[in-house]
Amino acid sequence: MTILCAGINHHNAPIEVREKFAIGGNDLQESLAQLRAIDGLFGAVIVSTCNRVEFYAASVCPMRVMDGMRRFIDKRAGVTEAPFYTHDSHLSIRHLFRVASGLDSMVIGETEILGQIKQAYTTAFKFGATNVHLNKLFQNAFRVAKQVRSETQITRGSTSVGSVAVDLAGKIFGDLSGRKVMLLGAGDTSERVARSLVSRGVRTVIVANRTFDRAAALADEIGGLAVHFDHWHTAFDEVDILICSTAAPHPIVTREKLEAIMQSHQERPLFIIDLAVPRDVHPSVNDLENVYLYDIDSLEQIARQSIEVRQGEITRCEKMIDRHVRDFLLWMRNHPGAIR
């Protein structure tokens, strides 16, 4: 029995090409049925995400099945030579393990792909499109991904400014439910961070913007309140997270101003995310007790650090994966039959 893989991903094709091959949930059953009709193919799983479309198959006559898969792909996309990579046995097993572990993702170590592969496998299994070898292969892939995630730092930290900010909020407040956020300026990044915080349970969002209409529109969208920019400090009571992104040429949040406000803040911490350039918050604010100020540079530095840590872990992950590939090939040798 041989495991085959044919696919296209963000490494070898831009989105304009990838989108031609994408297989939506509605087409999946039919596509799986067409693949299963290829002579000599005993099982198939289709993984279709925004970054990749991959076909995994189990067969005893790999050349014939690979030709059949190519014909299926070309026919589906209406092209003559689809830019698909192909792997057999050893490489296809290794490829799946790498993909499931997030090593082949655009953002190394991201975990969403594992859920997508699980979904793809469950669908194929439900339609009876898998065989014992593919079942074993995918179960192993899930186990490998779990081990890689728990025993290495491949998922350590966050890799974007927004997610670093949300992570830090978690490290300051723990549970974010019931927390209050104020947006000073309604830039795109601050809006994204605010949305992420809302999805993590933040209770109230107050938006203050020079253009009140923009503040009102954004507040309306994310279920918050709009206030006039000149009165932001009057609405500051009980604010836990302040996100600044105005176009002001000089700091609008100074130590003196904040010191007075923090008197009524009691012992609650204040997390300030300053996304503006020039900065909206004077750096000396970070010296205040219970105030944690992060500007765009410090957030980017932490994101870069996480990427470096993740990249440094790749070799460890590869070694772990190679060990599991050897184990799976051994299992394949001991179970060579064409079991459907």
């Binding site: 350590r156 930290g157 723990g174 012992e267 992060y294």
Partner: protein, 261 residues
């Protein structure tokens, strides 16, 4: 036999601490099950040791400085089991094991007094007073550990550099709350212990009285000022570490003064 039990408990805590250091070296601090298992085994061994010595002494085994240090180690782990899981502060164990290890090693290696000073008559009030005092010190020890973790996390957050410790330490708000509640718990236990001491009508040395009263007042002040929001969590954390160090330093003197003449 009890020497072997203590050595085995020390070995468990050493393994737990070594495991944490190894994980720290590999960039991961989050303690696994091994830490917890080692703490449970160490607790079991210490409990057995205390029970055996209690049987021999026919009283709560806190009749020498050696006894007190062992009992305090046991109390610290006990409070950790009660509080550690309640606040999901798993890393508290990683910080608790070196503290308990240090106390146990000090008790076993240094030439401190091991002779139990027995009272002629068994007084339950005095036993309750002594036992609760030491258990309250266990709570204060944990408060000190939570305070230290708070200060480390505060430093990490202020530095704005990220890092392994930042991601593995619990949220700073949770650490502040745990620190404050452990101080509360310790203060309640110490207050009940003092009440038991007064009820016994025992003669108290002036130095012992004022040292103990000073410790009680320091924690009471922390509770009061935190309650009326005039003391920031950072200052409470610093004070809880400082006062616990004071307890450790003055413990031999207090124990010496507590021995029946």
């Amino acid at each position: 036999m009890d020497a072997y039990l203590l050595a085995a408990a020390t070995f468990c805590l050493l393994s737990s601490f070594g495991h944490t250091l190894f994980k720290l070296g590999s960039g991961r601090v989050q303690p696994g099950r091994l830490n917890l298992v080692m703490m449970i085994v160490a607790f079991g061994l210490l409990s057995t040791d205390l029970w055996m010595r209690g049987e021999v002494q026919r009283s709560c085994p806190i009749n020498s400085l050696f006894d007190v240090l062992v009992f305090m180690s046991w109390s610290t782990i006990l409070i950790y089991f009660v509080v550690g899981s309640a606040y999901r502060l798993s890393l508290l164990g990683a910080f608790t094991s070196p503290l308990v290890l240090g106390i146990l090693l000090f008790a076993q290696i240094t030439p401190i007094n091991r002779d139990a000073h027995m009272r002629l008559f068994r007084d339950h009030w005095i036993e309750l007073h002594a036992a609760l005092s030491i258990i309250s010190y266990g709570a204060f020890a944990l408060a000190g550990v939570a305070g230290l973790m708070y200060l480390l996390q505060n430093r990490q957050l202020k530095k704005r550099k990220g890092g392994t410790l930042l991601y593995n330490l619990p949220p700073i708000t949770d650490l502040g709350i745990a620190n404050a509640r452990l101080i509360w718990l310790g203060l309640i236990l110490l207050t009940v212990s003092f009440a038991a001491g007064f009820a016994s009508g025992m003669q108290v040395n002036t130095l012992k009285f004022w040292t103990s009263a000073g410790i009680w007042a320091a924690y009471a002040l922390m509770v009061l000022l935190r309650g009326i929001h005039t003391m920031a969590p950072k200052r409470t954390a610093i004070l809880s570490v400082g006062v616990f160090i004071f307890i450790l330093v003055t413990l031999p003197v207090i124990q010496h003064l507590s021995n029946p003449k």
